[in-house]
């Protein structure tokens, strides 16, 4: 009977009314991401020696389909090396407006230095502020440029608006995200 179908539909909507909404109220509640979500890059360090993994080889820049990466290498000081190899990245910049977050840099990297992290809250006001340098991406830097600016202004710690389902990827050595 056609009317019964209508009645069943009405019952369904009435039942759903008493169910908890599925919406995540994003800025207040944390959005849940999967570990392999590709967000802002992280430049990792060797555990123990604390030297930077990046050896300034520019393979990431060559692999980048969007030409978003700029690397300028320099010789290591043998007495006080920055990285374990001969050279290190004096300048390492990624333009986050050009980046398409494809992860090819991560695939190209021979030392596993550049890894896609999970952070994605990078909205900002000026083009120039989207060019992230080493200091913005090295392990230990929590939050994006605007988030850190906001935190410095308000005096509160950076608050990431997401949590990672199942914890951080193994490649992201030393990075912690809220679970």
């Amino acid at each position: 009977m056609g009317v019964l179908e209508i009645a069943r539909g009405m019952g369904l909507t009435l039942g759903k009314m008493f169910q908890k909404p599925l919406t995540v109220s994003y800025p207040e509640q944390r959005a849940t991401l999967q570990p392999r979500f590709r967000g802002r890059h992280v430049l990792t360090r060797h555990p123990g020696t604390n030297l930077e993994k990046c050896i300034g080889c520019s393979l990431c820049a060559a692999a980048c389909p969007a030409y978003a990466i700029y690397v300028e290498a320099a010789e290591n000081d043998p007495a006080n090396p920055t990285s374990p190899g001969e050279r290190y990245a004096k300048v390492y910049e990624i333009n986050m407006l050009r980046c398409i977050f494809c992860g090819m840099c991560e695939e190209a990297c021979p030392t596993g230095a550049v890894v896609m992290g999970n952070e994605f809250e990078m909205a900002d006001y000026r083009y120039g502020d989207f060019v992230y340098g080493k200091e913005d991406m090295l392990v230990g830097t929590q939050g994006s440029l605007p988030q850190r600016r906001e935190a410095a202004k308000s005096g509160k710690p950076v608050r990431l608006g997401f949590q990672v389902d199942g914890g951080v990827r193994a490649e992201l050595e030393g990075v912690t995200y809220p679970k």
Binding site: M1, G2, I6, M10, T13, T23, S25
Partner: protein, 395 residues
């Protein structure tokens, strides 16, 4: 102060109060509707303005008033401005005749704005006038989609008005008066009209949905086909006035259904045993019943998809209208030949009619679901092999 002046002032005061109450209800209905729809779709709904989103209507009102009021170049300025005023004016004035309690119960005054002997007829006439607002609005916009929307809505409202009026005829014959007070009094002695006119109520409910342009009959504003119908060229407060008219019509339809079929302002009699006189309290019972029907309007909107336009017209002319006529005939025959028979027989008759309609619901579907227009090439085209039967319930 002379008596007539005092009476006039009190009536004016009551009219202002009813208007304010209706407009406040409209404002909060928009919020309640959005919240309820959202909850039925597993969303939280608007919850940003004020605690739990309670100030959202205020924000909407401020926005509508201060938005730029665009008048399109091709519009007929006078009619374009008058149309929303007609719509809201008719919607508001229709509500005034509905009694919210017994005479002299509201601080010694009557809880209605005007009381006509022709209550039901006057109300039907006033609500029908609202279609002028919609139609003229569509016409005066001087553009294509609005006039299509206006035409659609006038055709729809005229079609369903017949069903609406006819479905009430049985009720009026039973009661023998068209005044709302008389109908409420009749129900107080004989029981709710819903029992004796269940078929009539079903038809009236369907026609009401069509009359107030709500889903599944909201064809005049079918976004996918004609943008926003007659509302397309309207903005700011004029647009808000049309919205207001729609919601006020909804409230009026709910009040009419409560008054005609659900005992009106009188509460259930058995509660008098618990608290003496509770069923005679003014306003509260009517508000409760209106709230129930308003919830039904929202609930249906959350559930049912919109009808196609030809389905809508056929549904009105081929199902609602003949059935309403049939209901009238049944009631008339009962009244003519009842002898000393009780009203319960009419209740059974009416309920049997409703049950038969529900059971036959799949059989009567071709009435409105199959196009009657045949294409010319059907005659010369070779007959296709018979298609397998459609699964039940699927259109």
């Amino acid at each position: 102060m002379p008596d007539w002046l005092a009476a006039l002032l009190i009536t004016l005061l009551k009219a202002v109060l009813v208007t304010l109450a209706l407009l406040t209800t409209f404002a909060y209905m928009t919020l309640v509707e959005r919240r309820l729809l959202a909850r039925m779709q597993l969303r939280p709904g608007p919850n940003r303005v004020g605690p739990m989103g309670l100030l959202q209507p205020a924000a909407d009102a401020i926005k509508s008033i201060f938005k730029e009021d665009v008048t399109v170049t091709l519009a007929d300025k006078l009619v374009y401005t008058l149309a929303p005023i007609i719509a809201i004016g008719m919607a508001l004035s229709a509500f005034g005749g509905l009694p919210a309690g017994p005479a002299k119960s509201l601080f010694g005054e009557d809880p209605w704005v005007y009381n006509l002997n022709t209550g039901v007829l006057a109300l039907l006439a006033l609500t029908s006038m609202g279609v002028y607002g919609i139609f003229l609005g569509g016409w005066a916009s001087g553009s294509k989609y609005p006039i299509l929307g206006g035409l659609r809505s006038s055709a729809q409202m005229i079609s369903y008005e017949l069903g609406m009026g006819l479905s009430l005829l049985g009720l009026l014959m039973l009661v023998g008066t068209t005044s709302f007070q008389g109908i409420v009094a009749w129900q107080a002695t004989n029981g709710w009209m819903l029992i004796f006119q269940s078929l009539g109520f079903a038809l009236f409910l369907i026609s009401s949905f069509a009359e107030v342009n709500r889903t599944p009959f909201d064809l005049p504003e079918a976004e996918q086909e004609i943008v926003a119908g007659y509302l397309t060229e309207y903005s700011a407060i004029k647009w808000a006035l049309f919205q207001m008219a729609e919601y006020v019509n909804m409230i009026t339809a709910s009040a009419v259904m409560s008054t005609l079929f659900f005992g009106g302002w009188k509460g259930p009699q058995f509660l008098n045993g618990l608290i003496p006189g509770i069923s005679d309290w003014p306003i509260i019972w009517l508000v409760v019943k209106i709230a129930f029907f308003l919830f039904t309007f929202i609930w249906v909107r959350a559930t049912l998809p919109r009808l196609r336009y030809d389905q809508l017209m056929r549904f009105g002319w081929k199902l609602v209208l003949p059935l309403a006529l049939g209901n009238t005939m049944i009631t008339a025959a009962f009244l003519a030949y009842r002898g000393s028979g009780g009203l319960w027989f009419l209740a059974i008759l009416s309920f049997a009619g409703l049950a038969a309609l529900l059971i036959m619901s799949d059989r009567v579907r071709p009435l409105w679901n199959q196009p009657t227009i045949r294409r010319e090439d059907d005659a010369v085209r070779p007959a296709l092999p018979a298609r397998p039967a459609r699964p039940a319930g699927g259109d």
